[in-house]
């Protein structure tokens, strides 16, 4: 008996099923399916070539056919070779599939920004949907085929394949977002664009007020949310003995975190705005964003504090330190990096929120909030009680209402916003990795 056979005899019921007769049948059916689909696509593209209205974009169908033939051939080749395949091939294959779906998407019939009703020319929509299904299908089946061909041998391969796919998809999407935004937006990025306000009389566009507005919003939100959140986490982990309190707060935090952000905005609009000034204010925005940030702060702080080993607490208490001193001098310093990371990730998220602040805090073409002045009293709280502009809102108003700039300025704004958010993420991640290396436990 060959080693492979031995392995098979030890495999699970599922494995047995697929290497059995039925399994072989399944694989043949699969291949047949591939061939049929390939032919259908070929037929579609041929038909399109002859009769252009059959499908509005020839490129897609041709590429689709190529894809299917390529994947089919790869699989047949693997089947014929029956050798160990280096995992790189899987990666390339998955990259190819993903890149292909991206290309198809870009070349797809573009209806402009109007949302077309599903009447008249239905084919493009159907084709889009079916294409995504086919690509997903192809990706998954390729992986499964690797496995079924020889479960004992290729289990690793299948796992690697899926790992690569799941790494490649988000990476590809992210790269695409960033590259595309830079391509579209970099042309308008100038020092003036970033550092000055719009001057409508002269037709100059600047997003300085929006940048400052976004900063004021997130700084305020952090100032409100962090002490509360960290305090709650300390109480939960170090003091609350009874499990149900912890659970109740945990569940509440989770619910808050998954509450749609527009609902936060609505509550702010109904309960907060009338009690502050009656119109949109920076303060209302800060409070509502703080409420959104709070659950994440509680969750990450709780996790960070729980991760501090009890040995530190015992060491401190055994030296005669009180509980509060132990928390302040041992527990918190050890968990600060994780807390900061969590908060920064949360800040990255709320920085881009439009829905909650739309109703309660922002307006286009406001001035940058100015808390400081060169003459007494040097510091003003006034801006807290007036409207601000914010990057995501600026973006929204350009796209939706054509207010505050052209589409290029919108991409420029998006670029600044993405840079800001990535900056927070980058900061969070580097703080975390720095302290991970240095904390020694």
């Amino acid at each position: 008996m060959s080693p492979v056979d031995e392995n098979i005899s030890e495999t699970s019921v599922v494995d047995k099923l697929f290497v059995s007769v039925e399994g072989k049948l399944m694989r043949r059916l699969m291949l047949a399916l591939w061939l049929v689909m390939g032919m259908v696509f070929l037929a579609i593209s041929t038909l399109t070539a002859i009769w252009p209205n059959f499908l509005s974009n020839v490129v897609i169908s041709t590429l689709g056919a190529f894809l299917l033939v390529a994947v089919g051939l790869t699989i047949v080749a693997f089947k014929l070779l029956k050798e160990y395949q280096p995992p790189m091939i899987h990666f390339l294959l998955s990259l190819f599939l993903i890149a292909f779906s991206g290309v198809v998407f870009l070349f797809f019939p573009n209806h402009g920004l109007e949302i077309p009703a599903l009447e008249g020319d239905v084919t493009p929509q159907l084709a889009t949907i079916s294409l995504f299904f086919i690509v997903t299908f192809a990706t998954v089946w390729t992986g499964l085929l690797f496995y079924w061909e020889n479960p004992a041998h290729n289990r690793q391969l299948a796992v690697q394949y899926f790992t690569w796919v799941s790494v490649a998809i988000p990476l590809g999407v992210l790269t695409f977002f960033i590259v595309y935004t830079i391509m579209e937006g970099s042309s308008v990025i100038t020092w003036d664009f970033i550092s000055s306000a719009s001057d409508l009389m002269r037709g100059e566009i600047g997003i300085f007020p929006a940048i400052m507005g976004t900063f004021s919003l997130i700084i305020g939100a952090t100032v409100f949310a962090v002490p509360l959140g960290v305090g709650a986490a300390i109480f939960l982990t170090e003091y609350a003995k009874r499990g149900w309190i912890k659970q109740a707060v945990g569940v509440t935090a989770d619910c808050l975190w998954s509450t749609p952000s527009i609902v936060f905005g609505l509550f702010g609009y109904v309960f907060l705005v009338p009690r502050i000034t009656g119109h949109s204010t920076l303060l209302a925005g800060q409070i509502i964003l703080a409420a959104m940030l709070l659950p994440l702060t509680i969750a990450t702080s709780t996790e960070a504090i729980t991760a501090v080993p009890d040995e530190f607490r015992n060491g401190s208490l055994a030296l005669g330190a009180s509980k509060w001193w132990t928390i302040r001098r041992v527990v918190l310093p050890s968990s600060v990096p994780s807390i900061v990371t969590g908060v920064l990730l949360g800040v990255g998220r709320i920085a881009g929120e439009t829905a909650p602040i739309m109703l309660i805090a922002v307006a286009s073409h406001t001035n940058a909030p100015n808390f400081f002045s060169l003459s007494p009293p040097y510091f003003h709280l006034g801006p807290l009680f007036s409207e601000v502009d914010a990057l995501p809102y600026r973006l929204y108003s350009i796209y939706k209402a054509g207010v505050g700039g052209s589409i290029h300025e919108a991409w420029g704004t998006a670029m600044v916003l993405i840079a800001l958010v990535l900056m927070f993420y980058g900061l969070g991640i580097s703080i975390r990795s720095y302290y991970r290396r240095n904390r020694g436990w």
């Binding site: 015992n314 401190s316 208490l317 030296l319 005669g320 330190a321 041992v330 240095n438 020694g440």
Partner: protein, 297 residues
């Protein structure tokens, strides 16, 4: 053994009044101690004295309650959910479980070194200054926030325990723990980067900085290599000139090497306690003989 009166703070006064012979030798007196974890009785009616400026070792098989007994002397058992202590433990003639005892002061006086070295992720200096600084925090709580205001303007930080400059406290503690020569240059570097043996000696130094009278050690060498362990053993012998040391070990050779007196615990009960040589050479109880010759345990 001298009987103790439970719940009364100053046992010495009571004993003087009742004209009971006062034992001055014992740093810790334990009488009829029972410790429960929930329903489980981990220590069963143990009575023993731990003599001043001597090394006492606690031996016995795993799970016999050595750590439990040790932890009840500095009330670290208070932190365990469901732990309950009955009986009396007196340190300096005071019943440490009576209501008016301040646990933090007790723990400053009765230091503990743990099985696994647990330096804080701070600098060596801050690790050693930790105890005195925590003590200052207590003083502040007792005397009000403003009590330490004049300290702010003083240039050098002083230990509130003995009033010496903190720099000196740190150096002396390290010196006493035989660590100063090795890490003199690294006082302000992270304690986490030290070797395991150095970390454990740092923990001993950290404990010495609070000027304890008694040092409890729970298997302090079991996570170290033989050479580091040997250095700790030497250190313990040094320390016994000035301090009372209670060490838990399951290494009988170690107990024989370093301790003056040895106690054998078995399933929560005290089997035998006496001079180390006597206990190892001619044990009184059959059980002890069986254990030290390795026939049970």
């Amino acid at each position: 053994m001298v009987p103790l009166t439970k719940g009364k703070t100053n046992l010495r006064e009571i004993r003087e009044k009742e004209k009971i012979d006062i034992s001055t030798e014992a740093a810790v007196e334990i009488r009829n101690l029972d410790v429960y974890y929930g329903k489980e009785r981990a220590i069963k009616n143990v009575s023993l004295d731990i003599l001043k400026k001597k090394v006492t070792s606690l031996i016995g098989p795993s799970g016999c309650g050595k750590s439990t007994l040790l932890r009840s002397i500095n009330r670290m058992n208070d932190l365990v959910d469901g732990a309950r202590v009955e009986g009396t433990i007196a340190v300096d003639d005071r019943d440490i479980y009576s209501k008016d005892v301040q646990v933090s002061k007790l723990r400053q006086k009765v230091g503990q070194v743990f099985q696994k070295p647990n330096p804080f992720p701070k600098s060596v200096y801050d690790n050693i200054a930790f105890g005195p600084r925590a003590y200052r925090h207590h003083l502040r709580k007792e005397k009000g926030v403003f009590s330490s205001f004049k300290g702010i303007f003083r240039r050098e930080e002083r230990s509130p325990i003995d009033g010496r400059p903190m720099d000196q406290v740190v150096r002396d503690s390290l010196e006493q723990a035989a660590l100063l020569d090795e890490i003199e240059e690294k006082l302000h570097e992270s304690a986490i980067d030290l070797s395991g043996g150095q970390q454990q000696r740092l923990c001993i130094a950290r404990c010495l900085a609070t000027k304890p009278e008694i040092i409890l050690m729970d298997e302090p060498t079991s996570s170290l290599d033989p050479i580091s362990a040997g250095r700790i053993e030497d250190l313990i012998e040094e320390l016994s000139q000035e301090y009372t040391v209670l060490i838990v070990t399951h290494n009988m050779q170690q107990a024989a090497r370093i301790s003056d007196r040895t106690a054998l615990l078995w399933l929560g009960e005290l089997i035998e306690m006496g001079k180390t040589e006597a206990l190892f050479e001619k044990p009184e109880k059959e059980m002890t003989e069986k254990y030290i010759t390795g026939r049970v345990g």
